[in-house]
């Protein structure tokens, strides 16, 4: 990483010491892993494991026909949502994402029962069964969805950030999107306005290497996604999205920059999804070995487990956590299976708020 030369007239924005394009990454490079307490680490572990077990069960329920339509699992990417969202200020900051949204909901501590019941399309679901896997929201937690059109959440996130700025509430918006969405035009329209207006937003590209079945190198002229903000003077950060402590550390740096009123940050989290794009994806575009290699060497949960054990947690303690989580997930699945479907009278409710 080139350092900006001091005491010299900058020749380009990148060399301008006041220009932040590289400064965040440089700060991040100094110390990449968040200095978490044992409790924090255990929290991260539990949250990631909850997402993993929840998604495994969702996959099973899909196989049983209890979940219909499209169902995009977050398995493999857990460290991204957990690392970032643990750094948010609760009830202040807002989050928005695409259709692979179960993990982000769970990272908020939203009851797995109402999430699973939404997946099965039941009236107890968080969207009363009307949204489904891709359309879940919790305004209580300032989680704004859950959007099915690739890239739309980026512009909407810009609007949430505008609301933070307009209300001068000190909050920021965390807008997640994938490497596929990163090629959508509206993403760059939003980058432009966000940088122009110094909106408090962190754009997070969850680069899981495949846009549905197309590898990043086959769809993107620039595969170093953190550089994609350069044309708009948005500083970029490249983060190992398979390490929750790295993600959390990056979040600390990015959020500080944004909260200081210095405009948006673009963070690329390199991650990997173990499952297909959606449940109906046979995943023939990659080898079995590639997936297995990721699972064995890069898994975010196994990685943190190693750190926890090094720091004195016992295998038994961690097994007990897994057991508890399996129970929570089983209860959520039972609830989702046994809750009634929405009443037919709900068909025409919620189309409009007011009566005319």
């Amino acid at each position: 990483m080139a350092k900006a030369p001091k005491n010299k007239t900058p020749r380009s924005p990148a060399e301008n010491p006041d220009f932040a394009l590289h400064s965040l990454q440089e700060e991040f490079e100094k110390n990449k892993r968040f200095d978490a307490s044992k409790e924090q680490m255990q929290d991260f572990y539990e949250q990631m494991l909850l997402i993993r077990r929840f998604e495994e069960r969702a996959g099973q329920l899909y196989g049983l026909g209890l979940i219909g339509g499209f169902c995009h699992l977050y398995i493999g990417q857990e460290a991204v949502a957990v690392g970032l969202q643990s750094a948010l200020t609760e009830k202040l900051d807002s989050v928005i994402t695409g259709y692979r949204d179960h993990g982000h909901m769970l990272a908020y501590g939203i009851d797995p029962k109402v999430i699973m019941a939404e997946l099965t399309g039941r009236e107890a679901g968080i969207s009363k069964g009307k949204g489904g896997s891709m359309h879940m929201f919790s305004t209580e937690h300032k989680f704004y969805g859950g959007h099915g059109i690739v890239g739309a959440q980026v512009a909407l996130g810009g609007g949430l950030a505008l609301a933070h700025q307009y209300n001068e509430d000190g909050g920021l918006c965390l807008a997640y999107f994938g490497d596929g969405a990163a090629n959508q035009g509206q993403v760059y329209e939003t980058f432009n306005m966000a940088a122009l207006w110094k909106l408090p937003i962190v754009f997070v590209i969850e680069n899981n290497q495949y846009a549905m079945g197309t590898a990043v190198s086959r769809s993107s002229a620039e595969t170093e996604f953190y550089r994609r903000g350069t044309a708009f003077r948005i500083p970029g950060m490249k983060v190992n999205g398979m390490d929750v402590l790295e993600v959390r550390q990056a979040a600390e740096i990015a959020f500080k920059h944004v909260r200081e009123g210095r405009g948006p940050v673009l963070m690329e989290c390199e991650t990997y999804r173990y499952r297909g794009h959606s449940m109906s994806d046979p995943a023939k575009y990659r080898t079995r070995e590639e997936v297995q290699d990721m699972r064995e060497h890069r898994d975010p949960i196994e990685g943190l487990k190693k750190t926890l054990i090094e720091q004195g947690s016992s295998e038994d303690d961690l097994k007990a956590i897994d057991k508890d989580i399996r129970k929570v997930v089983s209860e959520a699945a039972d609830f989702a299976e046994n809750s009634p479907e929405p009443d037919p009278s709900e068909l025409y409710t919620d189309v409009l708020v007011e009566e005319y």
Partner: protein, 463 residues
């Protein structure tokens, strides 16, 4: 407890498949992530991955078996310390609950019937507020009325702001936002780059975040770039979230043909937006409605598409001088009472319909003219009431005929007003072509008063 491995559904439409191959054998240790079997669907061969750990017990469906129904137990998995043989037998699955099947709700005979699907009650008896006797009337252009409506609401509610191309320093491409920057400053009157998709999304997101944005499109032709946010993000959010997340945004700007600007700048999007559940669509004609409905739109908790007309901006009308002139959304207005025939119109066509009615009066035909004002929800009661009285109807619309608001009114009259019809309901629309530039061709393509007069005479059997 032994775990049943069931034939998985691997796509939204899969009902059965072929168990192509077992990759694990009875007695094999299984860890999560192992591929146990290959299953062929109509689309692809999929790998069946283990989620749980254990030992594979009895295989109940042999490889090569075709037409295995989703949900059938295909093998048993014994957990830690369990006897594999105990996990051998499994009861066949009776029924697999899933899509379209009713789950967890007691059977009822009339379920899903019309009686049970309660449609929302339409507010009845809603009228425009009475204008107090002696109220001063001012003459004002539609352009000024729209601006005044926005300014009043911005004074009333801090959350209201305007964004769009040239709305601030330039004072509006069509001067509708004139003076707003001076009064409210750049925080609330925001010039955007030329980037409709992006700023429509930002406006929509700001509404989700609790603000009250007015998003101006320089014309609705450019909103085509942004229509995804209007429909997918704004209109559907309240429903998809089960009523949790509102989106009170107003998308506004000139719509339909202007003058000699060619095909790409001359289209009426009324029917497009009016077809979308979750949107309110307003298309006023005169200054009073423009102001009163603009104020209502801004206060509305639902997303609104507010369609103006460039050719009408400069026209002057009488407007009552009231402190708070707000009109009801979803209510048509009878512009002229008549008994022989009804002309239904909206936006610029209302002016043409009124001209036609004057001309027809001279020939002894007493026409009633209805301005729909709101295209969604459509005030069909007022339309049908008028039909009941006149028994004849013509719809005048400055827009294409196919799948138009006019078509919709025809359908409503057929379904709900058939017994009152003395003549076929007739559409008078633009010609079914992209709008030409040449002055003579443009004139031929657009709706005009003589075309309305001719159609009215035809339904009155007076030609």
């Amino acid at each position: 407890m032994a775990i049943e491995l069931k034939m998985p559904a691997l796509s939204p439409t899969m009902e059965e498949g072929t168990l192509a191959k077992w990759l694990k054998q009875e007695g094999d240790e299984i860890v999560a992530g192992d591929i146990i079997a290959e299953i062929e669907t109509d689309k692809a061969t999929m790998e069946f991955e283990a989620v749980d750990e254990g030992t594979l017990g009895k295989i109940l469906v042999a490889e090569g078996t075709e037409n295995v129904k989703v949900g059938t137990v295909i093998a048993m998995l014994a957990g830690e310390g369990e006897d594999v043989s105990a996990a051998a037998e499994a009861a066949p699955v009776e029924d697999v609950p899933g899509e379209g099947k009713d789950v967890g709700r007691p059977e009822s005979s009339g379920e899903g019937s019309e009686a049970e699907i309660a449609k929302p009650a339409k507010k009845t008896g809603v009228k425009d507020p009475e204008i107090p006797h002696g109220t001063n009337m001012q003459t004002i252009t539609v352009r000024e009325a729209l601006r005044d409506g926005m300014a009043e609401e911005m004074r009333r509610d801090e959350r209201v702001f305007v964004m769009g191309e040239e709305v601030a320093q330039y004072q509006g491409a069509y001067k509708v936002t004139q003076g707003l920057l001076d009064e409210f400053g750049p925080k609330r009157v925001i010039d955007t780059p030329i980037t409709e998709y992006g700023f429509a999304g930002i406006g929509t997101g700001a509404a989700m975040g609790g603000l009250r944005p007015i998003v101006e499109f320089m014309t609705f032709n450019f909103a085509m770039q942004a229509i995804d946010h209007i429909i997918n993000s704004a209109a559907k959010t309240n429903y998809m979230s089960g009523g949790q997340m509102r989106c009170p945004v107003v998308f506004r700007g000139p719509n339909a043909a202007a003058s000699r600007v060619g095909a790409q700048h001359s289209q009426n999007y009324g029917p497009w937006y009016a077809s979308v559940p979750g949107l309110i669509v307003i298309a006023p004609y005169d200054a009073s409605d423009a102001k009163g409905l603009m104020k209502a739109a801004i206060r509305c908790e639902d997303p609104v598409v507010f369609l103006e007309n460039e050719l009408v901006y400069g026209r002057s009308f009488e407007l009552p001088e009231l402190d708070d002139h707000v009109l009801p959304i979803g209510k048509a207005r009878i512009m002229r009472e008549g008994s022989d025939v009804t002309i239904v119109a909206y936006s610029i066509a209302v002016g043409l319909a009124l001209e036609a009615a004057e001309e027809l009066a001279g020939e002894g035909i007493d026409a009633e003219v209805i301005d729909l004002r709101t295209l969604r929800p459509l005030d069909k009661e007022t339309v049908l009431e008028s039909l009941k009285k006149t028994n004849r109807m013509v719809i005048a619309e400055e827009g294409w005929p196919t799948c138009s608001i006019a078509s919709e009114i025809v359908a409503i009259c057929m379904e709900e007003g058939f017994d009152h019809l003395d003549a076929p309901v007739t559409r008078v629309c633009d010609e079914d072509v992209p709008l030409p530039y040449a002055a003579n061709l443009e004139k031929l393509a657009l709706i005009d008063t003589p075309k309305i007069v001719k159609a009215v005479k035809s339904v009155c059997y007076r030609d």
